[in-house]
């Protein structure tokens, strides 16, 4: 079973535009993480936000967390063709990390 649900399932944008994807979850968490997966490859960790944090930045990435709404968003600014990938949120509760179904992002040059 998957705790997090990403929205939208797929996203197509032009290079230079911003990409925003959302993650909703059901139970309390210790932290929430975002991962990227290029086609046919393993997942790569992007950013971790703790339950007592509201916003975090890393390069062109901005993550927000609203624990009252049990939701998070990932913003990729000034997207590049190399950002084409699937993006997954993962919620950490207890000693387990549970992944959502992912958002497939296509950045067109």
């Amino acid at each position: 079973s998957q705790q997090g649900e990403e929205d939208p399932q797929a996203l197509s944008i032009q290079e230079g535009e911003n990409a925003t994807m959302n993650c909703s979850y059901k139970t309390s968490i210790n932290n929430l993480q975002w991962y990227r997966q290029n086609s046919g490859r393993g997942l790569v960790h992007l950013i971790l936000i703790r339950s007592n944090e509201r916003e975090k930045h890393s390069g062109r990435l901005r993550v927000t967390l609203d624990t009252s709404k049990k939701s998070s968003s990932l913003l990729i600014t000034a997207s590049r063709a190399a950002d084409t990938a699937s993006y997954f949120c993962a919620t950490a509760g207890g000693n387990k990390l549970t992944f959502g179904g992912g958002t497939r992002v296509l950045v067109k040059p």
Partner: protein, 114 residues
């Protein structure tokens, strides 16, 4: 940079055959995870080890799947017999400790069951 090693990268087998996947985590990482990822979906945890002990195998289909990490280092995931529905990517990941922080993933083993 240290990486999680997995083999084989690709495996094609016929149903009812046995198949095995191997994972070597980053040196010093105590926690090792096996995830299964069906095409178009997110990874689902099959089994989690802390050193050589199983912490969570609640989603492992134990009638056909087995996993071991005998010396608390590398790990093997076995499927016997393989079924058509087992076609998926099998991902291994490791992390330094028990607290659920960043996971480091290998490149995965893509299984196709014919």
């Amino acid at each position: 940079e240290a990486e999680v090693a997995q083999s084989p990268r690709y495996k094609i087998t016929e149903k009812s055959q046995a198949v095995a996947f191997w994972c070597d985590p980053i040196s010093g990482h105590a926690t090792l995870y096996w995830y299964r990822q069906i095409l178009g979906q997110g990874p689902e945890l099959l089994v989690q080890f802390q050193d050589e002990s199983v912490v969570d195998d609640s989603q492992l289909p134990k009638d056909r799947f087995s996993a071991e990490r005998l010396k608390g280092v590398d790990s093997t995931l076995k499927i016997q017999p393989a079924e058509l529905g087992d076609s998926a990517m099998y991902l291994c990941a490791s992390s330094p400790g028990q607290v659920t922080g960043e996971l480091f993933f290998g490149e995965g083993s893509r299984l196709t069951v014919l």
